[in-house]
């Protein structure tokens, strides 16, 4: 027991590293969720549109990213894009890759929500003289959004956890802070338990929120 406490103390003295890691993970998560949701809605609306070409192009784009590992995508953005002349620091590269993959998954969720709204809704709105955009904004999207909130929040949670891949390009996020500490602390199990708890504390409010919204 005293050994355990000692080890815990050993980890505790590295708290600046852990805090830095939590900060980076939080920042990446917030950027990914906000940008991913905005871009995801735009792509999702395009995906559900009656324009088959537009829908196909968006579908193909999102399939490419949904069908390949996030780690590979992060590598491509960080290591391959510079060869094409796009030089990004590791944080920007990570944020970009994470926002993009989130947008891809969210677009399919949004598109399925839009398709689930009965055709009669848009017909009623059109019959009253609403423009396409008004039909979408005032009638279809509010109903679609209500249906997809649980899936959306589930996607947010996945994003927070997936953000750990950025440790592979040297970003000091929560996962990487664990790697650093474990090099000077003997109990790796304990270190990564702390890391895991950190992720859980970030995700739990989201899970809780989702459960509450599902009830209403």
């Amino acid at each position: 027991m005293t050994l355990f406490l000692e080890q815990l103390q050993g980890i505790a003295q590295y708290y600046p590293v852990i805090l830095k890691g939590v900060g980076v993970t939080l920042a990446l998560s917030v950027i990914g969720i906000v940008a991913g949701t905005i871009v995801g809605f735009v792509l999702g609306i395009a995906r559900a549109s009656s324009n088959t070409l537009l829908s196909f192009v968006v579908g193909a784009y999102t399939d490419i990213f949904r069908g390949t590992p996030v780690l590979v995508q992060v590598f491509v953005v960080f290591f391959i894009l510079p060869e094409a002349g796009v030089e990004l620091d590791s944080f920007t590269a990570g944020a970009l890759a994470l926002s993009n993959i989130a947008a891809c998954f969210i677009s399919e969720i949004v598109a399925s929500g839009i398709r689930a709204v009965p055709v009669g809704q848009a017909e009623a709105a059109a019959s009253a003289g609403l423009t396409r955009l008004q039909q979408l904004r005032l009638v279809v999207l509010p109903q679609a959004t209500r249906m997809i909130v649980p899936s959306l929040v589930g996607q947010f949670v996945l994003l927070v956890k997936d953000s750990s891949v950025v440790s592979a390009i040297g970003l000091l996020d929560l996962t990487r802070s664990g790697w650093i500490i474990v090099q000077s602390v003997p109990n790796g199990m304990l270190v990564f338990s702390v890391v895991g708890i950190g992720y859980f504390l970030i995700c739990y409010p989201l899970l809780h929120l989702s459960r509450r919204m599902e009830k209403t």
Binding site: P118, A124, A125, A126, A128, L130
Partner: protein, 241 residues
């Protein structure tokens, strides 16, 4: 007010509307009936552009429906009532009614709300302003739907089987609203099997079968002395009880 001229529509190879010629004058009430699959819903959905047609012309209030650029302008003047009501489930009765006046007619919110309340009261729903559609019975929902169209102050009201999805005891409350509209001089096209309604307020009854207008007559003549064999057969089927 509304003029079909040699209108044709196909779904693939299926010829759903064939050489439709029909004119509806201002203030006139026309009831359209026919067996299911006869094209009567398609016909009324053409009037506000929910269905496209391939040939012929359809002029409403001086504007061609085939011209996409006219559609919004036209639809502001055409109320449309659906069989399935299609109320916006995320909005209250009053919000359903005021949405288009606010966003399409650009009426000040206050004025729209006053007008909406007035019209909801007129259809007997003065105590349901803040109710959501799922809290209302079918008959009440359909009356909200009618009020929603009326709030745009349309020149024409189109009804696509407005009572077909209702339980029998709720049909009359909806028909009563429609009868009073007709008496107020509203121009109406009503697709329905409610022959009592047709007899009471229709100026003319149109019988359509397999995409063809078979017979057009005043209600008295239509019900007592139908000229066409198919009309007689149809009336025999729906009036025998």
């Amino acid at each position: 007010m509304i003029k079909f001229n040699e209108l044709n529509k196909w779904y693939g190879a299926h010829h759903v509307l064939q050489n439709i010629n029909l004119e509806v004058a201002k203030g006139e009430v026309v009831v359209v009936c026919g067996p299911s699959g006869s094209g009567k819903s398609t016909l009324i959905r053409c009037v506000n552009g929910l269905e496209k047609f391939q040939s012929g012309t359809l002029i409403v209030d001086g504007l061609s429906v085939a011209d996409e650029a006219n559609l919004r302008q036209l639809r502001m003047e055409l109320g449309f009532v659906f069989q399935q009501f299609n109320l916006y489930p995320h909005k209250t009765a009053l919000e359903n009614v005021t949405l288009a006046p606010i966003h399409v007619r650009k009426l000040p919110r206050k004025e729209a709300i006053n007008r909406g309340r007035e019209i909801l009261e007129k259809v007997g729903l003065g105590d349901k302003f803040d109710a959501y559609p799922q809290q209302l019975s079918g008959g009440q929902q359909q009356r909200v739907a009618i009020a929603r169209s009326l709030c745009m102050q349309p020149k024409v009201m189109l009804f696509d089987e407005p009572t077909s999805a209702l339980d029998p005891e709720m049909i009359n409350e909806v028909l009563d609203v429609m009868v009073s509209l007709a008496k107020d001089g509203m121009t109406m096209i009503v697709v329905t099997h409610e022959m009592g309604f047709a007899r009471k307020v229709a100026d003319r009854v149109v019988f359509i079968d397999k995409g063809v207008i078979v017979e057009v007559a005043e209600p008295e003549a239509f019900f007592t002395a139908p000229k066409n064999e198919r009309t007689r057969e149809f009336l025999g089927k729906i009036l025998q009880h």
